[in-house]
Amino acid sequence: MYNVSLLPYEYRILNKQARKKDYILLIAIAIMCLLLLAYFVLSIVSVGKHSELKELKARNSEIEDQIATLVNVEELDNEVKKINDKIKTAMGTTPKWADIITEIGNTVKPTTSIISIKMDYNDETGKCVIEGKASNLDVITEWLNELETVPGIDDITLIISDNSFTIKNYISFELNMNLLPNSEDSQEVADL
């Protein structure tokens, strides 16, 4: 029942050490095998990735060649964009005068006459002054209400400059309003 060894103590120590070395060697071989396997797998992955990269580079090079044949078109397009940008910068947010004047003109009542329209626009702010005559205040009020709906203008104020009734019973008035910046993509090339 007892583990008795009759071998000399030194021999046993040596044997134990040799066995330990064998184990270590076995573990080392196992690690080596694992590392070899890992290296093998990594090599396969690496070859795959290199091949993918080569393929992509070839495709990219092909596309770049195609682009090179169309470089003149690109230059022309850039030139068009550059001029268009210059036009936009030059025009800024200047209102579409014809549209605003037409819209205002369309709201004028039959018994109202316009003597003058003054409009100016600079640095994103503009003013409009309309001088005219109307048969009565109701007509002006009605017109004012319609003017409120006209796009491109706001903050309309009315000044009755002369309410002394003339022979024709006309009232002189002055309308002041602000001109709003043109919010559209100003001076579109579509206008071409």
């Binding site: 590392l35 078109v73 001029i83 036009i87 030059a90 200047t94 014809a98 004047i101 001076q187």
Partner: protein
């Protein structure tokens, strides 16, 4: 004999350790190589995506090359390379007659032209265009003037109207006068 076996075992152990270290180094190098390749793939993929988009855009443009060329010609005329005042006057006269309006005044701000010329010296072509201020007066019917204003907005030459004053010419007259302060542009 035992000693030989021990030393052989030791050599094997040392050789295995060296091999393990070598394999580790090789594996790390391989991993780093894969990482580099993957990063390159990402980069090329991104470039490829951009180039594919660019090519598609260029192919579309190429299909509409005639239209693009027309746009270029029209836009180039909008901001010519010189003030070209005579041509501008001719153009304004043409617009006026096309819309039954009379062009009664054209005044260029000469000082402004000289200043602009001086300023533009040394400036690159990419800078904002030079401005030439001009005062115009037209007389005609209200509806005709509106048509003229539309033409000025979308005409051959780029004209920015800064001020406009429309006055009736008489109590019962249908004719109105429009005084316009405008700016035209040129490149050099």
């Amino acid at each position: 004999m035992n000693k030989n076996a021990i030393s052989r075992g030791g050599i094997l152990l040392i050789a295995s350790t060296i091999t393990i270290i070598l394999l580790l180094v090789l594996s790390v190098t391989k991993i780093s190589d894969i990482k580099k390749t993957v990063s390159e793939i990402d980069e090329v993929n991104s470039t490829l995506g951009i180039n594919e988009g660019r090519l598609k855009n260029l192919e579309d443009l190429n299909e509409n090359l005639d239209e693009l060329m027309d746009d270029f010609i029209v836009l180039s005329k909008k901001i010519p390379s010189s003030p070209d005042k005579n041509k501008l006057i001719g153009l304004l006269n043409q617009y006026a007659s096309e819309n039954d309006v009379l062009l009664s005044q054209v005044d260029f701000d000469e000082l402004n032209v000289e200043e602009s010329m001086e300023e533009s010296e040394g400036e690159s072509e990419n800078d904002t265009p030079n401005e030439l201020k001009v005062k115009l007066a037209f007389t005609g019917e209200y509806a005709s003037l509106i048509k003229l204003l539309k033409k000025l907005d979308n005409g051959e030459r780029l004209i920015r109207i800064d001020e406009i004053e429309i006055n009736s010419t008489g109590d019962f007259s249908r004719i109105v006068r429009a005084d316009i302060a405008a700016v035209v542009f040129y490149n050099k």
